[in-house]
Subunit: 355 residues, 2 copies
Amino acid sequence: MTSPRADRSVLILAGGRGERFWPWSRPERPKQLLPLAGGGRTLLAATLERALTLADRERILILTARDLVGAVRAECPGVPVVGEPVARNTAAAVGAAAAWFRARGARSFAVLPADHLIERLPAFTADLETAFAVAAREPVLLTFGVPVAAVETNFGYVQRAEKVGERLYRVASFKEKPDHATAERYVASGEYLWNSGMFVWGVTTFLDALETNRPGLGRPLRALSWEGGEAGFERALEPVFPALESISVDYAVLERASNVLVLEASFDWDDLGSWSAWARRQPKDAHGNVLFGEAVALDCERCVVVSEDREAPAAAMGLRDMVVVHTRRGTLACRLEDSDQVRRVTEAVRARGAR
Amino acid sequence: MTSPRADRSVLILAGGRGERFWPWSRPERPKQLLPLAGGGRTLLAATLERALTLADRERILILTARDLVGAVRAECPGVPVVGEPVARNTAAAVGAAAAWFRARGARSFAVLPADHLIERLPAFTADLETAFAVAAREPVLLTFGVPVAAVETNFGYVQRAEKVGERLYRVASFKEKPDHATAERYVASGEYLWNSGMFVWGVTTFLDALETNRPGLGRPLRALSWEGGEAGFERALEPVFPALESISVDYAVLERASNVLVLEASFDWDDLGSWSAWARRQPKDAHGNVLFGEAVALDCERCVVVSEDREAPAAAMGLRDMVVVHTRRGTLACRLEDSDQVRRVTEAVRARGAR
């Protein structure tokens, strides 16, 4: 059974406030709007590029924060963009999108976070096509599991159970970000995949699952009605959203439903959770340094040096395995291996009353 | 023999472009205009404070670069400030100042660089009074030698000869910045003092010495004539200065003259040649960090973290013995022990076409 392109939609989740690239990222320019995707493209633009291999522009929906709508529209011309009245995590966002897609006649949709990096586009498209075909055939919730390439404590994991098709498995369990020893055990067992946070499912299948597992979310979102396009939909969300539970779609639905399958991805994937994760994929100079923009590195090895400001260089001298980032809003210097703790810096900065 | 206060003048040399505090220092705000003197004061303001213990405000002269005159006047209200038409090093500057002071009836003057740090003010004043008294009595060129407190390769040295008074010696030789082994030998010998670059001498004594040793400098400067105050003097310098040899007063006069004495200073002294030299004298937090302005240091030890920009913090995490400086014009990150090589950074930045 095939899945006609016109039946499909894609939801891009672009509401994150990712602070892990502070000071480059900031509330009004979070991670998905940074040019982290290579070739100067933002992660959002690269996500849209992937989405367009699956569905036509007008069948895509981007959900984001209201104050980011302008910046998101500028990156994604011609794509419907809706600003959530308040942030309510992914279960509410996906439920609202399901209502939007149902009203537009879609039968199934993919959910793509806007701030992940995937480079092998043909493999991505092929895997998503496979998932759409499965979802057209069966009322299942499909998630994508990425073959583990390293012991990684910054990702969630999916434990595979019974094989039900090519690279397709039932799910034994979902696991939170593990500690190092646990992650080693997961990797050694061969039973686990990284949880990519990407999904494909039927519109009705999802709304049913949401209503069954989280009626407080499923009922009001299924009952949404509105006139017109994005503006009308935004108005319809306004009285509903603030009262919704703030919970991830993983917790609300996937970890409770019995009809969940995981497709082992053939594409590469990274959620770029830190400067270090980003640097791993960047072109390097002869000394292993990643230099972005107005960056000067003298006698440096394996450093990340970043400034987007043409008038204000970031300069590092005599350093090893460091991150040095200059922006107009601040400077960060830390060891590359500590770059997954940047949140501690943003908290300290906030505590000072600056940003 | 005493030295009446009205007979004395003080020249403050404030024309330097010190780049060693890049990115804090920059051409339009060099080292002497940075708040490096403690209590938020600039080095220039602190130098003026010292000068005022020796001479009245109108008997002081500040020589600087023409484009810095405004900034210097703002720091030193009521003090004559003259902008040199072009930079011609210290021999020309001191010679011009001698002509200025002679026209105003001074018999002797002190020369104080504007970008050094001296904290023990009473000792400074007492030593300078001693020097003025000697200069009033004899036609000598007095320099101040600072007792060596460490093996230091960033200072010049003065070798003492015969003792001619209390803490007062003839000079055997002047030495350039030595390498480490040579500096160790100097320190072990007990014969050497650090060359502070500060002087006291009679107006005529200096002009005579300059004309004898460097007639190409001494004659045109001695012959200067002008009407009125700073503006008239600046106009008189205009046709003369560009043709003058660019040479330091040490080379031009002190290393050649036979009437040079060195007074062993009882005051502390530092030329603050690097971030590291500055940090040594700053108050520290419990982990030995120097935090200036909007500075955040998490798990850092013995770091220097600086941002003057209230909207843009400099944040360091997990670092040891590092300098991290944010300004609107750029960011520097390097090891504290490499901070005397910041010039390499400014050269690399200039080579990129930024500043």
